[in-house]
């Protein structure tokens, strides 16, 4: 026991010095590094403290133990004083067998021979009655001189007493803690009850968000005020049922499940063991306190990674609400109490997470230092690396979602092989904006509101074709359902508007069957005041910045109050199957799109004359450049998924650049020369349809002195360039001289709109594909949309 005590004491001394070193660095680490890193460093030190077989390399740090000595409380210091004698430390060398440690102690204090002499001659040095060592020594006084190297320390040795005190203290501490826990949990277990379906759903959602595959079993419990995770071996999540309606609940649950993900209860148990082993060591208590604090900070950090200031504020609010549940009478002082100060620091940390480093290098330094100071050898190193790697994994990037291309894109129209979906803006009786969803059927040629009820007048609330969309309605067809996203002004509560620079919007995503039936809300995101959890979405919907990859919808939502320094948008990801919405990252500039798990940023830098595109993984991570090349007045580009099309009118080239592989292919260098008096010097590709890239150039027609237009299509397979028009030759005077979008391509036809003779409205037409690409389109007019 004495040897074990000595071994742990030595570990305590060396690692204690390191703890103090890192504690001094704490303010710096708080500022520069993430809580995850600090947590990892503390836990590394804690693991180190559990390993007793290190020895202080005296040759490396001869006088190092002196400052640690001061740390010990007076009573304990007196008991263990012989251990920390300077000469003593020098003798505790690596190569010395543990059994001989007793010999190294200075004469007159703990030397076995001296102790024997004392036992034999001095009655004043009799050991405490009842101690087993005392009885033992009394029986064997004559034997001891013959066994000078006995591992059993002399009965009167202060070291032995210290070891005994240490052991008793350890047992008492453990007993107290375990008993306390067992009683508490037993009391509480009587109140466990099954979760209500609503709470169960909330727990499942939170587990999905934090990516916890196997969430711990969860119970309701009337006796607690805040959700908690408890249990060392098999953690259990307890949720107070009265929080079911609390807006902060999802964030609280995410916090708890993140603890489960980090296995924080295991680490807390480990810290408890460390405290039990080194209960007399103030530096160890300091370590445990800091570690527990940083475990919380790291959890906050993980929950709020990539979230907007609004979510952070909502989280802070939930934190305060929990802390305030047992609020006492107002204190007389205006300063924070100790709890208040630490809470303030925690709240501050919520808002200062950006720009901190994860500090892999620092962690390695800490690991090395711990290993070096602890004199780790052989198996010691291996034992240490296991927990190290598990801590480090929590710091590493999360894996990317399965890469899929950014199709189908969302736009103000959507199409299938059978028909086209569009919207027309309307106003209701109170002059509030509405959007009506209309469907044009290609085979029957009819157009009308997308409502399966033949008796509906399509003008009153309840008609599935009516949407209270303030602006444009965005849609796409995903998995044989129509997905619609729109924002509508937050209803009519002026008190909510006072705080906002822009009126807040509700952002809705709904799905419906392609025949207009079974319209269902997928997710509704409200301004922060109404629902703190989804506060990041108090927003407009930005039309060019809405993307889909078939299983998710990506929305660039702007906070309802834009502040300098705040993100321009929060990129939200909405699962099209569950409606689960999570903020992915803050975006500080307009984004170009999503492709293969990446967000595309950047654009044309006219000053440098280059096009520079950069990509950030959607889950967060390093931003890197994916394309950078010359871009001048003669250049044009268009992106389709992960493919970039680049034209150069001076060289007559069209190139294709793959953003994933970096591969560049020349499609053709035979682009036609620009017409005379062209209104721009470049070809601007505008659309890829039917395996063809379309581009057009308008020019002053010298013969008619009016604006005219030339359109070309490049076959992406063969590189063949052909001219095309939207109207047959006899109607060429009506040809629109702007870029015209082709809404849909079916197997044998293209769908687009052409101006009516009067010029004030337009008709939807189907053009026979073969004749269209031959430059003489044969048109079939579809019935006009009502209201147009």
């Amino acid at each position: 026991m004495t040897q074990l005590f000595l071994a742990f004491a030595r570990t305590g001394l060396s690692t204690g010095a390191l703890v103090l070193f890192f504690a001094l660095l704490t303010p710096l680490m708080r500022k520069k590094y993430t809580a995850g890193l600090r947590r990892a460093v503390w836990l590394l030190l804690a693991v180190r403290l559990l390993l007793p077989f290190s020895l202080f390399p005296a040759f490396l740090f001869p006088g190092k133990e002196a400052p640690v000595q001061i740390e010990l409380p007076a009573a304990v210091a007196e008991t263990v004083a012989p251990l920390r004698h300077p000469g003593d430390e020098a003798a505790l060398d690596l190569g010395q067998p543990p059994s001989e440690v007793g010999h190294a102690l200075p004469a007159g204090e703990a030397h076995p021979e001296n102790a024997d002499a004392a036992a034999g001659g001095q009655p004043g040095a009799v050991p405490p009655p009842g101690s087993p060592q005392a009885e033992n020594s009394g029986a064997l006084p004559a034997l001891l001189p013959q066994k000078p190297a006995s591992p059993v320390p002399a009965p009167l040795s202060p070291l032995g007493i210290a070891a005994l005190v240490w052991c008793c203290g350890m047992l008492l501490f453990l007993l107290d803690q375990l008993l306390r826990y067992a009683l508490w949990r037993r009391q509480l277990r009587r109140w466990d009850l099954p979760l209500s379906p609503k709470l169960e759903q909330a727990v499942d959602r939170a587990a999905q968000v934090v990516r916890l595959r196997r969430p711990p079993p969860a119970f309701g419990n009337d006796r607690i005020h805040t959700p908690m995770l408890t249990g060392l071996l098999r953690p259990v999540l307890l949720v107070p049922p009265q929080l079911a309606e609390d807006p902060g609940l999802p964030l609280m649950l995410r916090h708890e499940l993140t603890h489960a993900l980090h296995r924080d209860l295991f680490w807390k148990g480990l810290l408890l063991a460390v405290r039990a082993l080194h209960w007399y060591h103030p530096a160890v208590w300091l370590l445990c306190r800091e570690a527990e604090q940083d475990i919380e900070y790291a959890c906050d950090e993980a929950v709020l990674r990539r979230s907007s200031p609004l979510t952070r504020a909502a989280y802070g609010g939930a934190l305060l609400a929990v802390a305030g549940m047992n609020a006492r009478v107002p204190a007389l002082t205006t300063h924070f109490s100790a709890g208040g100060r630490s809470m303030k620091r925690r709240l501050e940390a919520l808002f200062s997470q950006q720009g901190k480093r994860r500090g892999g290098a620092l962690f390695l330094c800490a690991a090395l230092l711990t290993g070096l100071l602890g004199g780790m050898v052989g198996c010691g190193v291996e034992e240490e690396t296991a927990p190290l790697s598990s801590s480090a994994s929590s710091l590493s990037d999360l894996p990317l979602s399965a890469p899929t291309d950014a199709e189908p894109s969302f736009s103000y129209y959507a199409s299938t092989e059978q028909g086209l979906f569009q919207t027309i803006p309307l106003r209701d009786q109170t002059n509030a904006p509405l959007n009506q969803l209309i469907y044009s059927d290609f085979s029957s040629g009819t157009t009308g509101p997308l409502c399966p009820d033949p008796d509906c007048d399509h003008l009153h609330a309840g008609c599935p074709a009516l949407f209270p969309a303030t602006d444009m309605l965005l849609m796409g067809v995903v998995a044989d359902r129509l997905v619609l996203a729109y924002s509508s002004q937050w209803p009519q509560d002026p008190s909510l508007l006072s705080d906002c620079e822009f009126p807040p919007y509700t952002l809705c995503v709904e799905t419906m069957a392609l025949d207009g039936s079974d319209r269902r809300p997928l997710v509704t995101l409200r301004p922060v005041e109404a629902e703190p959890e989804t506060g990041y979405a108090a927003t407009h919907l930005y039309f060019p910045y809405t993307f889909s990859d078939g299983s998710f919808l990506y929305l660039c939502a702007s906070p309802s109050f834009a502040q300098p320094g705040h993100a321009l948008f929060t990129l939200l990801r909405v699962s099209l199957s569950t409606g689960e919405t999570e903020p992915l990252q803050d975006v500080f500039e307009p984004c170009l799109g999503v492709y293969s798990g990446h967000l595309l940023l950047g654009g044309i830098d006219w000053q440098r004359g280059e096009l520079r595109l950069e990509a950030v993984p959607l889950e967060g991570g390093m931003r890197r450049q994916v394309y950078c090349d010359y871009y001048g007045q003669d250049s044009g580009y268009f992106r389709d998924g992960s493919t970039l099309y680049l034209t150069n009118s001076a060289l007559g080239t069209l190139k294709k650049f793959d953003l994933l592989t970096g591969e560049e292919t020349l499609i053709t260098d035979q682009l036609p020369p620009l017409p005379d008096r062209a209104s721009q010097r470049c070809y601007l590709p505008t659309q890829v349809i039917d395996q063809k890239l379309l581009f057009s150039v308008s020019f002053d027609d010298s013969s008619s002195l009016s604006l005219n237009i030339k359109r070309w299509a490049v076959d992406l397979e063969t590189g063949k360039v052909s001219e095309f028009v939207f109207l047959p030759p006899e109607q060429s005077h009506m040809e629109p001289f702007w870029h015209q979008t082709i809404f849909a391509a079916t197997a044998d036809a293209l769908c687009y709109s052409v101006p009516e003779e009067s010029g004030f409205s337009s008709h939807l037409v189907l053009a026979d594909k073969a004749s269209f690409w031959a430059g003489e389109p044969q048109l079939r007019y579809l019935a006009n949309a009502p209201g147009k």
Binding site: W184, P309, L320, A327, S337, G340
Partner: protein, 129 residues
């Protein structure tokens, strides 16, 4: 004057919890329904527990139709208050922090602290904190 509230064994507490969750007097089938999924007790067990609870002064019964209506006499708050006054409750009233991961594990904050922190939070939310 009612006799002091006794500490209930687990099984009797489970029955009382059904009353407290329902918040109204219950018939025995209703109690059975409330216990479903947690305990698999026979009718006679539940009746025995109700009799014991009645002897302790926790419930009373009155005739209703063909059966009885059982009425809780002790509220959950009263019971919890009494339970926390026991010796163990006094000794080990606090939560064992080492075994819990909760959103906030510190001591209670004063109302003043909370108010100041809320102000800080509001400032931070507006972006000038």
């Amino acid at each position: 004057m009612r006799s002091p509230i006794a500490h209930l064994p687990d099984s009797e507490l489970a029955v009382m919890q059904v009353f407290w969750r329902a918040g109204k007097p219950l018939t025995r089938p209703e109690i059975d329904a409330g216990l479903a999924g947690q305990k698999n007790w026979t009718v006679s067990t539940v009746v025995a527990l109700l009799i014991r609870l009645e002897n302790r002064g926790f419930v009373s019964h009155e005739k209703q139709g063909r059966g009885y209506l059982y009425r809780p006499l002790v509220t959950q708050e009263e019971y919890l208050a009494a339970e926390s006054k026991t010796l163990l409750g006094t000794l080990y009233g606090g939560d064992p922090k080492n075994f819990i991961a909760a959103l906030y594990g510190g001591g209670a904050l004063s109302g003043e602290d909370i108010r100041e922190l809320q102000e800080y939070l509001d400032r931070a939310k507006r972006g000038d904190g």
